[in-house]
């Protein structure tokens, strides 16, 4: 049974989802969507607007897909830019905006994510601030990611409640990771 675009659109709308991106994520896409979101924010008049709060979380989650997603292809064109697959949605539930992301990860990444995120869930704002400053000092800039999970701590600090996440086993070495940040 073919899923019509209208059905998908209606399902998303009924779930309160106002923005959805599913597919290959690259830095160019993050910048393209990011700049469009930012322009929308400027049109609405203030950096403290909802989109101003959504933007940092959106960027961190998209860039997490770039770092952690186990589904990827390398392009020979575009200067060898790597394309990674995932999904990011922005929605509204119980009066609050949230940003949700999902992507496949391997077993090792899943372990790291579970440990880090479980720890963050137990921390209050002061503890998160201290951890952020501590990790920022000790993290080296070698390699693509700081490896210190600064992005997650940043999101946890911006959120109105603890980050929610889920890891579902798909096969021997793949899990589907999803995470929700409520603003």
């Amino acid at each position: 049974m073919a899923l019509s675009v209208r059905e998908l659109y209606t399902n998303l709308m009924s779930e309160g989802i106002i923005f959805c991106f599913c597919g290959s994520v690259s830095q160019s896409i993050v910048e393209g969507i990011g700049e469009t979101l930012w322009q929308r924010m400027e049109l609405e008049g203030a950096q403290t607007s909802t989109i101003g709060k959504v933007f940092p979380i959106f960027v961190e989650q998209m860039q997490n897909i770039l770092t952690y997603s186990a589904e990827k292809i390398c392009s020979d064109k575009n200067g060898g830019e790597e394309l990674r697959f995932g999904i990011v949605t922005v929605g509204k539930a119980e009066g609050r905006f949230y940003v949700c992301c999902g992507n496949y990860v391997d077993g090792r990444a899943a372990e790291i994510l579970a440990t880090r995120l479980s720890e963050l869930q137990t921390m209050n704002k002061e503890q998160l601030k201290e951890l952020y400053k501590q990790q920022r000092k000790i993290a080296t800039l070698e390699g693509k990611s700081t490896g210190a999970g600064l992005g997650f701590i940043d999101m946890a600090r911006r959120a109105s409640k603890p980050l929610e996440f889920d890891l579902i086993s798909v096969d021997d070495n793949r899990l589907f990771f999803s995470m929700t940040t409520t603003i």
């Binding site: 910048e31 403290t48 960027v59 860039q63 800039l141 700081t146 992005g151 940043d154």
Partner: protein, 115 residues
């Protein structure tokens, strides 16, 4: 980004969320390091006006500020001006947090008011 070697005025403005901040900021850090080494008696002023920093950019900026802080400790005349818009609380907090960890460099929080 605008770094003027003759006047000692360095300016960075905008949003920063490169995929690889380490790679992006490495040459900038190198330039500043070499510049400060060559012109020890020059007054250096860094104006920063960042609307958004992703987490890895935040690390890169800390590295830059640490470098300037070290030079200030050694007696060099260095000032950092963290500029933020009056309605951007996040940018203000970000600046305050940076200044909490810097010991010697003069770090000013400068509010920009819309006229």
């Amino acid at each position: 980004m605008h770094f003027d070697a003759s006047t000692g005025l360095l300016e960075i403005k905008g949003k920063s969320y490169p995929e690889n901040a380490a790679q992006f900021y490495a040459p900038i850090l190198e330039w500043v390091r070499a510049y400060l080494q060559e012109f020890r008696d020059k007054h250096v002023e860094l104006n920063v006006e960042m609307i958004y920093l992703n987490s890895s950019s935040s690390k890169a900026f800390l590295n830059l500020f640490d470098l300037l802080d070290t030079c200030a400790k050694q007696g060099q005349s260095v000032v950092i001006n963290w500029r933020y818009h009056e309605d951007n609380d996040t940018a203000l907090e970000c600046g305050q947090e940076f200044s909490e960890d810097l010991e010697s460099v003069t770090f000013n929080l400068v509010e920009i008011c819309e006229e």
